[in-house]
């Protein structure tokens, strides 16, 4: 009996241990570090700003080869650029105090700020900038990420420490956008990187602290977890108010929102509409919407063809008819999409360039707006000879086939699926049948390039310089005759558009350039190939313990575009109240109490079992 009894005790102990591990574990471990200070103060000395890293994460810390936004944000913080983008979205001084353009529009001379030092104390001069840009121009690996930005550069030289001269092959209006924080070219220290040119492809740039110059210095990076940065208190454009910056990677945005509510995070740039609505009513959190820097819309295949005009792909030929495309545009109620799909957090779209960059703003002339009018759309199709068949689906007069269109949507986008269900109903009302085809992004891209599609959901964002976004609509981006190459967005091709595209690149007066860019947007609007639905706002959420994270003044309720560069630089801690820490220790006790209850319950169950054994 003694043996039996000790077994029972052992079993009970085991039960207690297991349930203890499961339930008391969290509490016990919590007590071990419960005294941890609040997130905004941190355990290391000084104040710490904790922000959510862009969910794409960091692909590599090598600025010549990195593509991911998480990495680009870091480079914006730790490497300098020639110019910065000010709150109005136009280039302002950074390394360059000022710049001049020669009368022939080919030579740019940048005056580089003197007396700057890299984080290891070495002087930062125009030579570093010239070396970086030359490397990107001449070395294929170095040009991996940003080669296109310098493809029109003829030469870059540094005649002295404070002068940088860039000569371009053709006049180029956007030279001051080439090296900007985050989306432009980061300047790296020549004395560090010149020994890595040979192994540039494999160089991971993970010797900490990373030698650079910027508002922050990277002191640690843990793969897929976080980056730690220290403030550069002598930063040229003003010292950061925080001593440390931590960018933590949250793979799941709901988890980031949870962390913000739990006080473990101070800032998220880019929450979705649902999260935003919930955070608006959460204490201790401020929210803001910035004007959207991108659009969501629908592309129609206007007849995919190669550069020499050879048709390719399986697109429905009916869509080459502008009347049908216009009818589809008029059948879609964009206002409903804004209200229902993005909770009203955005604007109905018209112009191809998003409102985050107001200098390119374009709206259709009075009388030319395409409004939601299914009756007019039906009338238009009737007049064009699209007869309605027995099943309510119209017949293409050219081929005699019913108008059934495929609609490719991104399988991982909840917005796409919401929009597509509306589209099916709206297009049915004008006699067009729609089959929804959810696909992965990469499968969509593959179909797009081959022209194997009728309609695709699409969305694009752009930085302040619109050249690239405008470029993907030009004829030169169509694929070659072998079907390869090209990066066309929707097989749009219009010689007039291309002429304006070439023209705007050489106009140096911003207002004039904007006017030409406006004409290009007009062409796109009237072609109905890219039917833009809305510009969703960029939604940010921040702890009330931090001020300054949201930069700029709201216009019509929308702030200007928020960049990590300025947000982290201008963020400042608010004076702390004492109540926060007591709350967390109460939590520990509640947790402990809960654990005790559960362990106790476990013990009771085991005891009951023992009783049952004895009863037998």
């Amino acid at each position: 009996m003694v043996v039996r009894e000790s077994r029972r005790i052992r079993a009970m102990l085991a039960a207690a241990c297991v349930s203890g591990l499961l339930v008391a574990g969290p509490a016990a471990l919590a007590t071990a570090t419960a005294a941890r200070a609040d997130s905004s103060t941190g355990a290391t000395s000084g104040t710490t700003l904790r922000v959510a890293m862009d969910s794409s994460g960091v692909d590599t810390l090598n600025p010549f080869t990195a593509y991911f936004n998480g990495a680009l944000d870091l480079f914006g913080s730790i490497y300098p650029s020639l110019t910065s983008i000010d709150e109005n979205g136009v280039p302002g001084p950074y390394l360059a105090d000022s710049w001049t353009l020669s009368p022939d529009h080919l030579t740019w001379t940048f005056k580089i700020h003197s007396g700057l030092k890299w984080s290891d104390g070495q002087p930062l001069t125009a030579a570093d900038a010239a070396w970086t840009l030359n490397l990107i121009m001449t070395n294929t690996v170095a040009g991996t990420a940003n080669g296109t930005l310098v493809s029109n550069f003829a030469s870059v030289t540094a005649p002295d420490a404070t002068t940088l001269v860039i000569k371009t092959k053709q006049p180029q209006a956007n030279v001051t956008y080439v090296s900007i924080p985050v989306s432009g070219i980061p300047i790296v220290p020549q004395h560090i990187w010149q020994s890595h040119v040979a192994d540039l492809k494999d160089y991971k740039n993970d010797t900490f602290p990373v030698v650079g110059y910027g508002p922050w210095t990277l002191t640690d990076y843990q793969t897929d977890q976080y980056a730690k940065l220290d403030a550069n208190k002598s930063f040229l454009l003003g010292a950061p108010k925080y001593d440390h910056l931590i960018e933590q990677l949250y793979k799941e945005s709901d988890a980031a929102v949870a962390a913000l509510k739990a006080g473990q995070l101070d800032y998220i740039n880019g929450v979705n509409a649902t999260q935003f609505s919930s955070l608006q009513h959460t204490g201790g959190i401020t929210t803001a919407q910035a004007a959207g820097d991108g659009w969501t819309g629908l592309e129609l295949n206007p007849g995919a063809r190669t550069r020499s005009g050879k048709p390719i792909g399986t697109g429905n030929p009916a869509l080459s008819d502008p009347v049908l495309r216009r009818a589809i545009a008029q059948a879609i109620d964009k206002k409903t999409l804004v209200a229902k799909v993005i909770d009203g957090q955005g604007q109905v779209a018209a112009g191809y360039l998003p409102p985050a960059w107001p200098q390119w703003n374009w709206t259709p002339q009075a009388g030319e707006e395409q409004s939601f009018d299914p009756a007019a759309a039906n009338k238009m199709l009737d007049a064009a000879g699209y007869k309605t068949g027995a099943d309510g689906i119209r017949v293409d007069p050219k081929t005699g086939k019913p108008l059934n269109l495929r609609l490719g949507i991104h399988s991982d986008s909840s917005n796409d699926s919401a929009i597509s269900t509306y589209l099916v109903g709206w297009l049915k009302a004008i006699g067009v049948g729609v089959t929804i085809q959810p696909m992965s992004m990469t499968a969509l891209n593959s179909d797009l390039g081959k022209g194997d599609w009728d309609m695709l959901m699409d969305s694009w964002t752009t930085g302040p310089d619109p050249t690239y976004l405008l470029g993907i609509q030009s004829c030169s981006t169509l694929p070659g005759d072998d079907g390869n190459g090209g990066n066309t967005d929707a097989f749009f091709c219009d010689p007039n558009y291309d002429k304006l595209f070439a023209q705007q690149a050489t106009i140096f007066d911003p207002a004039q350039r904007a006017q030409v860019v406006g004409q290009m947007q007009d062409i796109l609007y009237k072609a109905d190939v890219d039917q833009l639905f809305y510009y969703a706002t960029n939604k940010v959420a921040a702890s009330t313990k931090v001020t300054g994270l949201v930069t700029g003044k709201p216009d019509n309720g929308f702030y200007p575009a928020q960049t990590s560069f300025w947000s982290y630089l201008k963020a400042a801690p608010v004076a702390q109240s004492a109540s926060a820490s007591s709350g967390s220790s109460t939590g520990t006790f509640v947790g402990l109490a809960g654990a005790v209850v559960v362990v106790g319950a476990g013990a009771v169950v085991v005891r009951r079992r023992r009783g049952a054994d004895d009863r037998e």
């Binding site: 969290p26 570090t33 793969t223 977890q225 949870a258 473990q264 990066n487 169950v605």
Partner: protein, 351 residues
């Protein structure tokens, strides 16, 4: 749960608890057969891995560079650099050759070798998966044994229904609920556990504080994994115990005057363990592939999430590389299971 026929079968199959023979080194023939089978499996896996990822409709170059200002020439150069311009059979032979030389390739997306990418995530993956695996095995087998032995009792009903309920719960949902309750806090409960990652960047990354910190970060992801998977072990163990329970050899053991505990532990358990061992080894092989959902919710830097990210491009070298590592791990574990079976089950040894 135990049908009469199942019991009857069990009676027929139950071996006598003969005194164990010492473990012999397996006949070379047996070992060679198993090794050859493993090699063939690996070969087939190589082919499947290649075909699977290459027939997927995809455009890696456009997807990778989307939103970046890349010219057409750059896209073309990238295609050449990634080897996408080569015919598919040439790519296949490159891939097989590289794999056999132990070279897993070079990630397109991360611009570094797949081996180094994988290595940096193996530690965290194994920490999370190993911990949750060990806990769920111990917990599941123990609960399964107890509830099987007293099938139909209150303890059995509570254990089995809890386990099955948790097994049916979506991992993602359970993870979010745990995150909200224990990290954010709900009502009177204040959140006290970290929401993401493996360690707190503000704390020193070495020494005891660091280990405790990692343990704190491990609690929620591991708990989620355990709660969702331990039911498998409970049900398997429970049903095998029920099968063994009616066996005549247990009657003999009882007749010898052994206590109930001793009968269960020394006689029923070893036989009932066999199906569980198979499953344990199967799962051991799968540990390294991580758990995509749990890693995503708790931002755990593991291999599951890496694979998922690679799939969106698709980053073929990463997919193929991790696929090889994952399959090799399963194949090796199956091989070990075959060998371990000889130790555990005298009947297999006779083969």
């Amino acid at each position: 749960m135990s049908s009469p026929s199942a019991v009857a079968e069990a009676v027929g199959a139950a071996p006598d608890p003969r005194p164990r023979r010492a473990f012999r080194v397996p006949r070379p023939g047996y070992l060679v057969t198993k090794l050859a089978a493993a090699a063939v499996s690996f070969g087939v896996t190589l082919v499947i891995g290649f075909v699977l990822f290459n027939v997927m409709p995809s455009d890696p170059v456009r997807t990778m560079t989307r939103g970046r200002p890349v010219s057409e020439a750059q896209l073309a150069a990238l295609r050449v650099q990634l080897g996408l311009d080569k015919p598919i059979w040439e790519r296949f032979f490159d891939y097989v050759g590289n794999t056999l030389h132990g070279n897993l390739g070079y990630s397109w997306e991360y611009q570094q070798s797949v081996a180094s990418l994988t290595l940096s995530r193996v530690g965290p993956t194994l920490l999370l998966m190993g911990t949750s695996f060990a806990i769920s095995v111990v917990l599941g087998l123990w609960l399964g044994m107890r509830s099987g032995w007293r099938a139909g009792s209150l303890f059995d009903r509570v254990t089995s229904s809890t386990a099955l309920t948790l097994w049916s719960v979506p991992t993602f949902w359970l993870g979010m609920i745990l995150l909200i309750v224990f990290s954010v806090g709900i009502g009177p409960i204040h959140g006290f556990l970290p929401t993401a990652g493996m360690s707190d960047p503000t704390l020193p990354q070495t020494g005891m504080t660091h280990y405790l910190d990692v343990a704190r970060h491990l609690v929620l992801p591991a708990l989620t994994m355990v709660l969702v998977v331990y039911a498998q072990y409970v049900t398997i163990m429970r049903s095998s115990i029920i099968e063994e329970k009616g066996s005549p050899y247990l009657l003999t053991a009882r007749a010898k005057g052994l206590t109930d505990d001793a009968v269960r532990r020394r006689h029923a358990l070893p036989n009932a363990m066999l199906p569980s061992v198979t499953m344990i080894f199967m799962h051991l092989g799968g540990l390294i592939s991580g758990a995509v959902t749990v890693e995503a919710i708790f931002s755990w830097p593991g291999l599951g999430d890496l694979t998922y990210q690679a799939l969106t491009i698709p980053d073929l070298p990463v997919l193929q590389g991790t696929f090889i590592v994952f399959s090799a791990s399963v194949i090796i574990m199956n091989l070990l299971a075959d060998l371990a079976y000889r130790v555990l089950d005298p009947r297999v040894r006779a083969q």
